[in-house]
Amino acid sequence: MIPTSELELVEAIKSTSEPVRIVGGGTRQGLGNTVKARESISTSALTGITLLEPAALTLVVRAGTPLADVQKALDLENQQLPFEPMDHRALLGSAGASTIGGVVACNISGPRRISAGACRDSLIGVRFVDGSGNVVKNGGRVMKNVTGYDLVKLMAGSYGTLGVMTELSFKLQPKPAEVATIKIHDVDDVTGVAALSRALGSPNDVTGTALVDGTALIRVEGLPKSVKYRTKALKDIFASQNVSVENDPVKSNGIWAAVGDVSELAGCRGDIWRISVKPTDGPVLVAKLRAAGIDLKVHYDWGGGLIYLRVNDDLNLRDHLAGFAGHATLIRGTGAGAIAMPPQNALVAKLETGLRAKFDPRGILNTGIMG
């Protein structure tokens, strides 16, 4: 079903008696647990920017609008989505055009999450149709809003299980005039993550911190003099290490797009796991896995707290993560039969089940995708 209006979407949901898969652009279909549904509902006809107000840093857009169209419109105003959503196509081997609704449904963020927050932090309003066909709005188009419960956050990352989103509002960010990347070469995981922590704990407004292939990467963005100043300040901090600076903005943007999209793991065979932990736990956890003889390739983002792992063996990585607070998601592969999404503890699972039962009492929306 491809509803062309919110009203048609309401009808589609009300009239179906079977589970449905919710589809945006299809680029992230591989994420989450398998959904058993014969029917699907696509948001691809719910498109268009409803409001773009640069002087208020505000965007309101229909959920099926391609992300590329959103970015094109923002480019013209020299503004951007602060959370830098990653592109999953290479990693998942998918095709199509990502929609803004899909980005929100999966709460997709990129390297700038460490300073500007996640997708959920920039989302300020939402309209959705719940599993009973009710149209619900929450939040709005202003960036400070505590009127009632914040269902906006709840909808971000709910993978369509609470409702099908139709319209979204975002807080935007001016595009930085300049960008530079400080590279610290030839570091091991522990030294690299320690450097990222040091950069993040300095007053230099760092907007990207990754560790890829033995190089720690630190990004600064902003007005020209400011970027120059902070680049030097960071270079000075790491003066005793092998440091270079990428001042070409095009090259810097390329570096961070590759970091966000986990490009260096995309072509590898094997399973891909995504783990979120306390940043300093990152290298400790990886060392433990290596000590267990697991064949790994590692990608760190978010100062070390976001880890993508390529694992060659067919194993459930969660069996090796006891003692680490956080969560692990199987992004690609079989994981020895592990479910993709992280299981929750009993009390949290009870709350989640309770919420789904309220918003989707017939259990028809992307059933089981989150567990």
Binding site: K144, K225, S276, V348, K358
Partner: protein, 478 residues
């Protein structure tokens, strides 16, 4: 202000409940004498008062859990209370309730600079969270005006903001995890030292739920390194509209100051008489603050000043020293106190799209004339969070009601232009009955679903946030 009729059955068993609470709390933590429970009769919304049946002051998560389990079993309503600084009546008791105060939960549990986080008990005050890390150069960003007194528990309850959230976000953007006690006594851990939820973003809906979903006893908060320096510039205009246009131009230009504060003539004059900050004679005044190293501050101010000068300001005052910076802020920071010296006032908290500032300011003036009450405007202009202060005389019969009526009209105006009823104070009881002006029945029902799941017996702070008519069936079913 209508509140639910107190439950007679609960009031009848007060002694039994006291007895049970004393099995889990020390004697001094259970307050039952009416002369002492009166201390909890209101929060900072002093127009409404009601002594609770009891107040309890547990000192750890386990005691909070024991208290809530007992209240759950006995069917006793509970109103959680941070420091009692709510301007919306979020901690206003009902006569049959137990006030659960978190004032004794004020320890720092962990500071971790490598991971840039601090874990505290929720009764700790906002400012003392920054205080615990400032010697090492760090701070906790959300800075509500009441930060000297307000508790993190209340900040989480109301998703509090502050003057600097244009850059740093509000509480929800700086909250990493909570330990929360559910109404039935279950203790649930949500989030922590890692980023983002593995499942549904429960943390996101807990923050700002006004103490209706559970009692947060511990919180993990993001801390940041302090900027090298900060400096404000004062820009005065002879028209509100021009000041509004200047704000829009600054934002559009790609500079993101940490704060853009706005004051209108009434506030400028009143605070000038009170604080003698040397403010100019003007219709509107902006304080724009930027942060960074010397070179970064100069670079940003240069751009801001160039924009401001295009709008022909009547005065543009740069700061050349810490003292001059403090003086620029002095009037703004004294504004509420100064107004309080000359009159009783009601502080509103509606948010509007920044582009609507000039129109809304004009309409507020007209509404003031219609009701015959003066109104001053002092607010965070960068994010459109307005704080109209309506002046009234609490001793004059009918004046409070007139003031409330006028406040409601202003808030409806905020909603009409695409904004909302409250940007950072919360709904509480104050704006409860206006919720249908912003949301329709389906929107409200979706929010009530969440409450149903977290607190199925509707015992936690249940008379707040939603119009009583919308929750009556649920509250009475318990």
């Amino acid at each position: 202000m209508q509140m639910p009729i107190p439950n007679a059955a609960v009031l009848d068993k007060k002694q039994h409940i006291v007895h049970r609470l004393l099995t889990v709390l020390p004697k001094e933590a259970v307050i039952s004498d009416p002369s002492q429970t009166r201390a909890y009769e209101c929060d900072a919304l002093t127009a409404y008062r009601c002594s609770p049946m009891l107040a309890v002051l547990p000192s750890d998560t386990e005691q909070v859990s024991d208290v809530l389990r007992i209240c759950f079993e006995e069917g006793v309503p509970v109103v959680p209370r941070g420091s009692g600084t709510s301007l919306a009546g979020g901690a206003l008791p009902t006569a049959d309730c137990v006030i659960l105060g978190v004032a004794k939960l004020n320890d720092v549990l962990e500071t971790d600079y490598d991971n840039r986080l601090i874990r505290v008990q929720s009764g700790r005050t906002n400012l003392s969270v920054s205080g615990a890390v400032e010697e090492d150069g760090f701070f906790y960003a959300p800075d509500p005006s009441s930060q000297l007194a307000c508790a993190i528990a209340g900040n989480i309850g109301m998703n509090s903001g502050g003057a600097h959230c244009l850059k740093y976000g509000v509480t929800t953007n700086n909250l990493l995890g909570v330990t929360m006690v559910m109404m039935n006594g279950d203790v649930v851990e949500i989030g922590g030292s890692h980023l983002d939820a593995g499942g549904l973003d429960l943390l996101g809906v807990i923050c700002g739920s006004e103490g209706q979903l559970g009692v947060v006893t511990e919180a993990t908060l993001r801390i940041l390194h302090k900027p090298v320096a900060a400096r404000p510039v004062l820009i005065a205009f002879d028209e509100n509209e021009v000041a509004g246009a200047c704000v829009a131009d600054i934002i559009k230009a790609g500079v993101l100051p940490v704060a853009i504060e706005f004051m209108d003539r009434l506030c400028i004059e009143t605070s000038e008489n009170f604080a003698k900050a040397g403010y100019p004679d003007a219709e509107a005044l902006l304080i724009v603050e930027v942060e960074g190293s010397e070179i970064e501050i100069e670079e940003q101010l240069e751009k801001i000043i160039a924009i401001a000068e295009r709008h022909n300001p009547v005065e543009l005052r740069q700061s050349n020293s810490e003292e001059e910076s403090a003086k620029i802020w002095l009037g703004r920071k004294s504004a509420f106190g100064a107004i309080g010296q000359i009159s009783d006032y009601m502080c509103l908290d509606g948010t509007i799209p920044v582009s609507e500032l000039p129109f809304v300011l004009r309409r507020i003036g007209e509404i003031g004339e219609k009701f015959g009450l003066r109104v001053g405007n002092v607010f965070h202009a960068g994010d459109g969070n307005m704080h109209p202060l309506i002046l009234f005389d609490a001793n004059k019969p009918g004046d409070l009601e007139r003031c409330e009526e006028m406040g409601a009209e202003i808030l409806r105006l905020c909603v009409e232009v695409g904004g909302c009823l409250t940007g950072e104070h919360g709904v509480g009881v104050e704006k409860r009955d206006l919720m249908f002006d912003q949301y329709n029945a389906e929107d409200i029902e979706a929010q009530l679903h969440v409450k149903d799941v977290f607190d199925p017996k509707w015992l936690l702070n249940a008379a707040k946030v939603f119009p009583l008519t919308a929750t009556e069936t649920r509250r009475n079913a318990s």
